[in-house]
Subunit: 334 residues, 6 copies
Amino acid sequence: MSDAPRDPVHGSYHAFYGVVRTFCGVPLVSSRADVAAADAVVIGAPFDEGVSYRPGTRFGPQAVRTAEDINVTGDRPSMHAGIDPLKELNIVDWGDIDVVASDLPRSHALLAEAAGAALATDTVPVVIGGDHSLSHAMLQAMHEQFGADGYSVIHFDTHADTGVPEDGEPPHGTPFRAAIERGHLKGSNIFQIGLRGTWPGPELFQWMREQGMQWATMDEVMDRGITDVVREAIHHARAAAPKTYLTVDIDVLDPAYAPGTGTPEPGGLTTRELLRSVRSVTSELDVAAFDLVEVSPPYDHAAITAMAGHRVLLEGLNGMALRRTGRDSRHEKP
Amino acid sequence: MSDAPRDPVHGSYHAFYGVVRTFCGVPLVSSRADVAAADAVVIGAPFDEGVSYRPGTRFGPQAVRTAEDINVTGDRPSMHAGIDPLKELNIVDWGDIDVVASDLPRSHALLAEAAGAALATDTVPVVIGGDHSLSHAMLQAMHEQFGADGYSVIHFDTHADTGVPEDGEPPHGTPFRAAIERGHLKGSNIFQIGLRGTWPGPELFQWMREQGMQWATMDEVMDRGITDVVREAIHHARAAAPKTYLTVDIDVLDPAYAPGTGTPEPGGLTTRELLRSVRSVTSELDVAAFDLVEVSPPYDHAAITAMAGHRVLLEGLNGMALRRTGRDSRHEKP
Amino acid sequence: MSDAPRDPVHGSYHAFYGVVRTFCGVPLVSSRADVAAADAVVIGAPFDEGVSYRPGTRFGPQAVRTAEDINVTGDRPSMHAGIDPLKELNIVDWGDIDVVASDLPRSHALLAEAAGAALATDTVPVVIGGDHSLSHAMLQAMHEQFGADGYSVIHFDTHADTGVPEDGEPPHGTPFRAAIERGHLKGSNIFQIGLRGTWPGPELFQWMREQGMQWATMDEVMDRGITDVVREAIHHARAAAPKTYLTVDIDVLDPAYAPGTGTPEPGGLTTRELLRSVRSVTSELDVAAFDLVEVSPPYDHAAITAMAGHRVLLEGLNGMALRRTGRDSRHEKP
Amino acid sequence: MSDAPRDPVHGSYHAFYGVVRTFCGVPLVSSRADVAAADAVVIGAPFDEGVSYRPGTRFGPQAVRTAEDINVTGDRPSMHAGIDPLKELNIVDWGDIDVVASDLPRSHALLAEAAGAALATDTVPVVIGGDHSLSHAMLQAMHEQFGADGYSVIHFDTHADTGVPEDGEPPHGTPFRAAIERGHLKGSNIFQIGLRGTWPGPELFQWMREQGMQWATMDEVMDRGITDVVREAIHHARAAAPKTYLTVDIDVLDPAYAPGTGTPEPGGLTTRELLRSVRSVTSELDVAAFDLVEVSPPYDHAAITAMAGHRVLLEGLNGMALRRTGRDSRHEKP
Amino acid sequence: MSDAPRDPVHGSYHAFYGVVRTFCGVPLVSSRADVAAADAVVIGAPFDEGVSYRPGTRFGPQAVRTAEDINVTGDRPSMHAGIDPLKELNIVDWGDIDVVASDLPRSHALLAEAAGAALATDTVPVVIGGDHSLSHAMLQAMHEQFGADGYSVIHFDTHADTGVPEDGEPPHGTPFRAAIERGHLKGSNIFQIGLRGTWPGPELFQWMREQGMQWATMDEVMDRGITDVVREAIHHARAAAPKTYLTVDIDVLDPAYAPGTGTPEPGGLTTRELLRSVRSVTSELDVAAFDLVEVSPPYDHAAITAMAGHRVLLEGLNGMALRRTGRDSRHEKP
Amino acid sequence: MSDAPRDPVHGSYHAFYGVVRTFCGVPLVSSRADVAAADAVVIGAPFDEGVSYRPGTRFGPQAVRTAEDINVTGDRPSMHAGIDPLKELNIVDWGDIDVVASDLPRSHALLAEAAGAALATDTVPVVIGGDHSLSHAMLQAMHEQFGADGYSVIHFDTHADTGVPEDGEPPHGTPFRAAIERGHLKGSNIFQIGLRGTWPGPELFQWMREQGMQWATMDEVMDRGITDVVREAIHHARAAAPKTYLTVDIDVLDPAYAPGTGTPEPGGLTTRELLRSVRSVTSELDVAAFDLVEVSPPYDHAAITAMAGHRVLLEGLNGMALRRTGRDSRHEKP
């Protein structure tokens, strides 16, 4: 409660102390009008009832928001992008949706409504999960706003999340199939990057082919390089539809970089590969919705996964700021 | 951003999600008038530059505030005390003082000013440390408000914190001696509980005796029982002065109960012993200032130390609520 | 695959290596007839969708079963009880119920069916949770078998778990109220031990009183001693009904003893208090069903909570063995 | 104990719950005939008495077997290799050898016998360590079956493990020298990949050169790329002998990827480099024995090392499946 | 390399920094004469090959020596005992015996020689384990020096460690039986405190009775109180022989107090119970040898077990100092 | 206290046991003459009062010195460099400077004096931090010895550490600006590698440009490769001045490789990139002073950060040994 201008009310000058912990210290919304006026709204989705293996991602929004070591200065200039999203964009924080533990349908409905409210006013919902079942809500909201022809999906993940919904598959592994089957999403509008491991199997891959889905496994990333793969994904998305939904499952990273997640799979991306990729996508495409899911704090010693997740969000915002200002990415040079 | 009345703006219905994390969800102050109107004000003191051994207590206020698993319901009824401090008292949260890392004198000065502002309006500062050097600031504020004759100290701790200030002693081990030597505190007004280990040595104990200080080592606690010792301390404090400063170093607990602290010493109190003791003190004495110090999150696996610290504060408030309402403690019976 | 007689097939001689990990190495059931022939059947209930705060107890059954450092020798003699439950009782392991992540009703139904099958043949279901919402299933099965007049409940817990089911309360906090309201359980047949903290509040306690529920808070445990409290609980249960359902939430222990749990509350029992209490209950009452819930491995550094849970189960079986053989408890003396 | 066909007896449908935890859920052997009929047999070697620094790898077999998040579906299709080893190969699990703690010679003898039994029937022993001293047993068994001229060794490791056995060197650092000196292994048949750090020194390297050993340090891996190095190793092994023993010490990975190991050395391989390398070796050479050693759970926060070890084994089996079916590796493409 | 007198060479003024880390900063021995001149010599025994379950105690000596937060001031005054063992006794540190990993007989032989050298000059060996198999060496040395009639044993432990040596029992569970059978120790001279759990079983207890061994289980400790039990043990030892060997297995503590140990068993002593007990033993009996075993750092989050172990040693030395000076224990009073 | 020649006094033969823990077992200095005679002197700087975020690096020197698994054999041959710095160079260990907790100016003064004493005799101070504020002392000492024109700086770090000293900036973020402003360092003599994240912002970068500072962000490292960037830095330094100060902040590594640090930033170097870079710098330039800072043990599970830090120092010494002997780097080949 210093009288200094920088932090008039809520406590400490430092973001990592104090009691108000919005993403990067942006304002909390106090009305729907605040959301409508914003370029982007950060929304927490603290649930993990859809997880098949290690739970804990209900604490993901809190962990990601607090995974930062910098002062509340009102800026976050990127030396790599040469831009400051907090200055170029009007970004606000909604807080978390009002979950009730063990009532996943309620959580999905609240998220769909919140994301839909943002989309309706051309505000990008930037959602912090929570488990990947939240894409059920996001895809519903995207469909309602843009129609199935109106948007593509770029999806970083270890898993394709195309499990058969009615087959006892936990919901964090099914959103993309469910949306296709409901007609909410065109299969040929999806591009997935980072697939590896033992799931899906041949039958699901065959189904994915029949839908026209596109993807690059980690083997392909290793052969071609991440830059080339991402370039193809952007090209594909641009051709498919005017809008894009970008969804990043933190388990696309190797467990060395992201131990704190629900279903880790060895052999993944490095953080620096992912950060550049996300920035490329948001700077080159009209990303209407963006989320970061599956950060699971109980397994996240020293919080390195939450930090990586925070930077994924910030890089995405850097790209958006470049696109909206029409400026080129340009890193700080001597 | 639900439209429901309970949580109109700041996000989730649950205290353990969302972005505003005041102590027990009490209101953040927005002006000095808010402080003046309150019965108690929670103040975070996030620094650890005064620590001699394991640092980390700078993250104590954040960890203690978030160490709770209960909803923001506006109540915290105690089944043991039969009272709800959030309903009986007007409690607010100041946030954290505006520290600058490595500038300990600045932090002390800001804390002394904040605590002094509260004391001046008969509002109890309830401070979450931070290292125990914060008692330098607290004792200065108590002295300014009440004079050396006007207050006693009840001090739960492993260590007497009576090191010689000018002898290269880290400041978290010196506040009580420093205050006595400056005339800010009467030695005979102090009662310490839980001392053990190898410090202080005989010379310091001799000096303490010469000041008229009172204490009970853990050996004495084991021989007489904690209830009897606390009864004596309360009796002594009541006789000494009208007001009391209650300061609880979490390391008074055994390291099994409080691994997350800077200078753990095996052989201490159990949490249930400490909780009852703190409630007794605040219900039977006029506690004008109260703090909880030395919770160190980096060493606090599963956050059990932070949780214990949170409950120490809440039990203290339970006792204050009993005293201010004039009611008897009475636990819920069948 | 040694040819030695001790461990003919499943691998290592040591329980803590090898691939078959039943509770204490008892046989896996291969048919319903195996269950019917047994005195007790261990059932794993690996779910945590009912948790309000820290999830992870879905890994509880696995962690509790493997929390032992002793050989597969076919015996577990208790030096305190002077009996070996593995020799006196026919104990088998059902494995885990076939959960599907995020489908809690299915898990409850499967557990109710499994427990009911055991009860129907006078086999004690010994359930390893999982979250405490499993008591919904257990109480349903008890009611079906014995009727509401036919059984009492002894319940060790920090929380009364009498939340209003229809009020957005996560299901691990509601089973006892739900069962009373459905007529599955008589309120006056319940005795709860270890309640503390801030929940329930006065209204819920009043409702509990109106049902005739009995309980002892931790304050009462401290005042009277655990032995006296447990003696009263046994007396009450014996008077209420012929059969007893014993349910132990590991969070009745202080977080120092049980950091790995979903909703820890400082100020609880010590492990040695709990172990003796559980043995007393099962040796003096006809315990028809028994469970141990809320062990949460992600927060359980060094697995000390899982170990405590394992010993709670074993002590319960020690008591059952004493009762069924009609022998007195008698510890090994020089 | 569901009556459903998928999981008739041993408990839960999910591999990560339940009480039988074989590698990938393959059948436990019940007789030597089962081993003889199999293509590969997984054998646990739970000992660590041969470790020079951090012990704990005695818990390696258990940790590696349980380091998986997928259902017991009877398949593990590889999207990278385009094959499913559980369908193409007959794989069984022996359990663990019957170790007695602190009796390392006994453990080695049991492992040599078990591996020898497998080799005698053309079944590949797939051993999960345990410390690298297990190669003493593996090399003995390889020599007995194939003679020193009959097999090569491909060895991924930070350390050459060519310490002088008689010089007080802990046995996990000596197996390859011991075998050469006993005439069980031709030095020129060995190719080591990933050497780095300060051991061996020049004298040992000189001795290695004199034996005709081949190796690539991490510096060479960085200069040439892992693909080129592995290609040379395969070429060398194919020219040397008809059979190959593939041994992977998990410490060949950088400690970021494998913190849970006994003698970590910074500067190693990434997991994705290792996985592709292992698959190349087993698909292009006739690997008669295969092991994965030195996973040490006590240091393995979030189990990421155990997961990497599990995937190393599975990738090795993927390669074997390709070779035995004569199919080409072919990853899933859109 | 300050020129200040206090710490002329070895680095920092603080024990917890710097490069020489003897126990409490006592001098390192530089010759056998130093040992002969001392009252007590601290000896590290860094091995764990004798452990049956969790290894890691090889790092015990290092962890215990560094588990202190106090300056190298040359004193360690006890406020409970009113004495300073560093001033009253001549204590030196031998360093660690020169173990070779996996060669347990060598380690035992070196320890027996070192302890024997100390005993021969009436210097108390104060050994930091290492696993409890080190008692094989200690009992051999005691027997050689005093004969089987010349000493008693007071043994704090969860386990009786009377396993049959020839029966595949890991050596940390056998030393007391082995010594009795070799005639190195009279069974009736042993008193064990803290036994609990499932081992030994009735047959071993019967064998123990036949030897005349004395013990108190945890149940008995709970019934009679630790003070009374220890009084009986001291009385028994005094009657049995002139000298005493005091051996403390840290697992006598409850796992809450000592998570970092090899075979934890819930339901044990608290640290404050153990500290007073050890001081009583060494102040009232002529303790000729003393050890603290089974501290296992990999499982010791925040190092609380190592700290407890350090204080056990220091309390033992406090008692010795009282006895050798003939002074009464007397804690610091106001 | 073996009588064997290898380890006459200080305890065990193994560096990772025993009580004297100098860096790589080199001798402790006993006089200033020892320093003067040495090629390099390791100095511990155990403080962290200058840290802005996570403290703990006060335990860095201890952790780095003990982060090794190899015997005290008197050698550390590098298989990559083909040289042994312990044989080619006279390296000694000073121990730690005599810090007093919370007195940062005192610590800086002591370090400046120690480093200055080394520089004065052409002995390279090799400092283990401690937080990066220690560069204040190092730059002061470099300036005093060589003048601002006499040395360049190569600086591996996430952060430029050019914060404005007078603006409440914690001192670990300001040393390079402070030195430039005091005329102790020429801005154009600095080359920084690894910058990333959100600090500094455009104004600071502009100031840096005006000073002629050189740097390469992580984006540039990714585009050009680390080898090319380091080559440019060496070229620049060689042209600037005859001597070089090499300072490595461990947070230049990605948090996967260095979780144990104060201000981690995702997206950094891999350890193997850093190790080769450091060796290149010390082998090609006349490095007069060298430090490794910001290793923070409380966050360093399994000590992988400390190990990486140890190897950074050793690689630096490898390069120095190559340079001083005039030999070429040459790794061990078959």
